[in-house]
Amino acid sequence: MVDKNQLRIATRNTGFIDPESVESYIAVGGYQALGKCLAEMKPADVIDLMKNSGLRGRGGAGFPTGVKWGFAAKYASDTKYVVCNADEGDPGAFMDRAVLEGDPHNVLEAMAIGGYAIGGNKGTIYIRAEYPLAIARLKLAIQQAKDMGLLGDNIMGTDFSFDIELKYGAGAFVCGEETALIASMEGNRGEPYTKPPFPAEAGYWDKPTIVNNVETLANIPAIIMKGADWFSGIGTETSKGTKVFCICGKINNVGLIEVPMGTSLKTVIYDVGGGIPGGKEFKAVQTGGPSGGALTYKDLDAPIDYENLVARQSMMGSGGMIVMDEDDCMVSVAKFFLDFTMDETCGKCTPCRIGSKRLYELLDKITIGQGTEADLDKLRSLSDNIKDTALCGLGQTMPNPVLSTMRVFEDEYRAHVIDKKCPAGVCADLLEFTVVDEKCVGCTLCARVCPVNCISGKPKEVHVIDQAACIKCGACLDKCKFDAIIKQ
């Protein structure tokens, strides 16, 4: 399906070529970029081209790729490493997986280009073990490339050699943080360490190392072939090219999209995403996964780029985009993300290990109707302090979902703690299911489905729900044919 709003660079081949055939990749111009680098360009030229293209890291932080490569090239070392970060772990996001499963050679080619540029000849793909198909296809692709002299010793007859191996992650979210990833690759516990030194100076086995995300790499062969001007001509002033998003939640067209930087949220949600199902009202969209923030209708016209999202207290992240409608409680959404980060923090630093638990507990307290106004202040100040003191990016961004929802949906938080109500009708402890006397015909259906038998009433008479016994499962509401049961 052709969609004029989309532009596919990183995912240009996914779905179009046979991922298990190197010939299929070559047929669409594959490995020409590597050939061009080896034949026509010096390593410094490749780095300059990357810098000029304006490509920035797609893993979340948006660090300029060419600059990172430049750092690693600067340090003299007998060995340098190119690491592909394929430890995709955001809830509901699978951009990297799609690229690796659909176009593995693209990533291998980009890694070899990176190796050539920084003067390294070892590559490692750190991939989570939960991606068996991606692993199988990568293994096959590496073998095919080696057989054709596109990887291994003396690539394409030149004196450049580059080899790639796979390392499997056990699915720890924190291992997407580059220093934790390196610790894990070395066989240590996946824990981040303090930077500097940055990996470009002393990374894998203390050697200069560049760590690039899958999507970042997937752009590179196209940039080499079409040039820096082409790429920097797409996007906004500070954010060039396209971004792959995994759009999910309350949206009609769930799935992967790739749009130019600068596309508005409105275009993404309503044109590409097809709008909100069931005629419900759009409420918010969470970008940046558990590290990002909620954007509302006020932000719909904003062009998506790194700076704009940060200015709106969210972030680009790796591309997760979760759409929420009027039925979503923002306190519960924040709690959902904290539940995730609380489980995924490595536990190394205090603010993240204990702070995430305390944030979660405060949110939980609010959703069960025991929160106070003082708790809102505590949430805010604890969040601020965690951001200020945590060791790595995971901890520093972990309070974002709390802070952003508190800022944009403060009324909703206050409704929870002052009125003890959940406006979206999600927090079960704050809900009351009641029978509307005028509408109830006494059909007894509700009483019969109630799993705890807390609805009483004679046939053809108005029924009554015993609030003390009600477990708020909503079965009666779903069953009633006369709209005689309401929750509020």
Partner: protein
């Protein structure tokens, strides 16, 4: 080296490149509180994981706060350590710690010695504003060490000590998130791991998460039991540090007061492990000469070097880590166990009591000794040669508990016959001391001549690995001395690979030897303190009438009346042991 300019709280200084903000702050006399950080350069021990975040400071043009302990100084850096932002952040971090801490200081072994407690006081914490669920973990009690992970603050010092310094690799971070904790692999109990019980983890733990298994009440019960005869022995290193545990200045000899205190505690017989140290030299020295002669005669069944076996941490270390070298260490028991064996045989005979009636208590600078006395081979029909072991720290507690004013005690002498010792014995507490003591005796036994100078300076430093060539009669001996198990591993790997042929190796598991033992008053990384203790023992040696173990008249009497001669059958039975291959994980 290039210098970096840095301004902290308005004061400017220059520090060499590679220095941290904390280094610069120290230079400027600006106090930055720390918790996980611990730097013991002499031990090559640096805990700079920057995990606690108490030391955060504000750095101009930096988005978030920076940990002072691990952030390198950049030229022109401007740092503030006392802004409201910094204070709030530190306070929050401390409150988070306290929200997940039992706060049972009243019954905590580390109360008064706890860095978290000190911080709470420093910040004037009078209530903890942050509350929530607490992490819970089962208590793990080994004969030597109690792990109470509910108190753990994840500073990882123990992990650095256990892995990087001691190379035992027992402790590491396990689990994620709130459940993250420092534990052995597969969360086994310490007893089932390769833990050597050296207790260095307890020396660096800032809180009460890792403490010794306290046996002071057992001692009180034994003393109070009218049916028991209590015999106490005190190891050399104890006398160099006991005063510190009783509020006195370090660097003095506390021998006389220690004896007086033990007597006032009510022990029936106050003896000295030093006596057993002299005995150890007689056995070990003879074994060495015997083995050396066979080796030089070309006997393929003997291997060189001979290694000392006084240190139970070291013994368990090689049983786990170097099972192919089990025939290399001396078979001589440690002085503690020799003492127990002699006390419950020779001395029980003198007293005319059965061994079961006697309770032998050891005061040791060591936690591994608690484990050692529980090894089944050191018991007769289930009755252990040594019944109870308490550390120097525990003796300090006992003295206070029994209302003994340690500082005002008179100097008293040990009882005889198991209380007499030569100068070769007290130096057992220093790294290199056992070697020196053995050389003094071996020299005279081998050559029949009087040793011209008894002090072997080459093995007297506090260095982790010491090697020297020493002339004993016609033989040039290559000797190696290591303190700290990481250093021991280095020497052993040299032996294993055949890189260097040693004749004698002395190993002590703790940095600096027993003076830095896991049961000593906390040294908090202060190497100057260890140097003071070291000096006390050498001074004690210098002040003795006899300086060589074979000159000890009571040792001579013991052999004449009871053992026969060194390495006799009876001596073998009572004073020698064997080693076991243990699992490597």
């Amino acid at each position: 080296m290039s210098m970096m300019n840095i301004t902290i709280d308005g004061k400017t200084t220059q520090v060499p490149a590679g220095s941290t903000i904390l280094d610069a702050a120290k230079k400027l006399n600006v106090h930055i509180p720390t918790l996980c950080f611990l730097q013991m350069d002499e031990l090559k021990f640096n805990n700079m994981v920057a995990s606690c975040r108490i030391c955060v400071v504000e750095v101009e043009n930096r988005r978030n706060l920076a940990p002072a302990c691990a952030t390198p100084v950049m030229d022109g850096m401007v740092v503030k350590t006392n802004t409201i932002r910094v204070l709030n952040a530190r306070r929050t971090v401390l409150e988070l710690f306290l929200s997940d801490h039992p706060k049972d200081c009243l019954v905590c072994a580390k109360s008064g010695n706890c860095e978290l407690q000190d911080l709470a006081e420093y910040f004037g914490m009078r209530e903890v504003g942050i509350t929530g669920a607490m992490s819970t973990y089962r208590q793990d009690v080994s004969p030597s060490i109690i792990r109470d992970m509910d108190k753990c603050i994840m500073c990882r010092r123990c992990e650095t000590m256990c892995n990087n310094v001691q190379t035992c690799g027992v402790l590491s971070g396990v689990n994620r998130g709130f459940d993250a904790v420092v534990a052995p692999a597969f969360e086994m109990n310490l007893y089932d791991t390769t833990c050597t019980n050296c207790g260095q983890c307890t020396q660096v733990c800032p809180v009460g998460a890792l403490v010794e298994n306290d046996h002071t009440w057992k001692v009180i019960d034994a003393i109070a039991d009218p049916d028991k005869v209590t015999v106490v022995q005190a190891a050399p290193a104890v006398r160099a540090a006991l005063g510190e545990a009783c509020g006195m200045e370090a660097g003095q000899s506390f021998t006389g007061k220690m004896v007086a205190a033990l007597r006032r505690l009510g022990f029936d017989h106050v003896f000295d492990t030093d006596f057993a140290a002299d005995l150890t030299i007689m056995e070990e020295g003879s074994e060495f000469l015997d083995r050396l002669q066979k080796f030089l005669d070309g006997d393929k069944n003997v291997r060189m070097p001979i290694m000392t076996s006084c240190c139970p941490g070291w013994v368990k270390f090689f049983e786990h880590q170097f099972p192919d070298l089990l025939d290399v260490p001396s078979t001589a028991k440690s002085p503690q166990q020799m003492f127990g064996a002699i006390a419950k045989s020779y001395y029980a005979e003198i007293l005319g009591i059965p061994r079961e009636k006697m309770v032998v208590v050891s005061v040791m600078p060591c936690l591994a000794k608690k484990y050692e006395c529980s090894r089944p081979e050191f018991a007769v029909n289930g009755n252990p040669d040594v019944d109870i072991v308490i550390s120097t720290r525990e003796l300090g507690r006992l003295i206070k508990r029994m209302n003994i004013d340690f500082a005002k005690l008179p100097d008293e002498d040990f009882d005889n016959p198991l209380g007499a010792s030569t100068g070769a014995a007290p130096i057992f507490g220093n790294s290199g001391g056992v070697m020196e003591a053995a050389l003094r005796t071996a020299y005279e036994l081998a050559t029949g001549e009087t040793l011209p100078a008894v002090e072997f300076e080459a093995v007297r430093t506090l260095t982790g690995v010491k090697t020297a060539e020493i002339q004993v009669g016609p033989h040039t001996l290559n000797v190696g001395v290591a303190s700290g198990l990481g250093n021991a591993r280095k020497l052993l790997e040299m032996v294993q690979s055949g890189e260097k042929q040693f004749h004698v190796i002395e190993i002590m598991a703790c940095p600096g030897g027993c003076i830095g033992g896991g049961g000593q008053p906390y040294h908090h990384g202060d190497m100057e303190l260890l140097a003071k203790r070291n000096k006390v023992l050498y001074n004690e040696d210098a002040g003795k009438e006899f300086r060589k173990s074979h000159e000890n008249p009571y040792i001579i009497e013991l052999y004449e009346k009871f053992l026969g001669k060194p390495l006799s059958e009876k001596a073998h039975h009572l004073l020698h042991t064997h080693y076991f291959k243990r699992h490597q994980l």
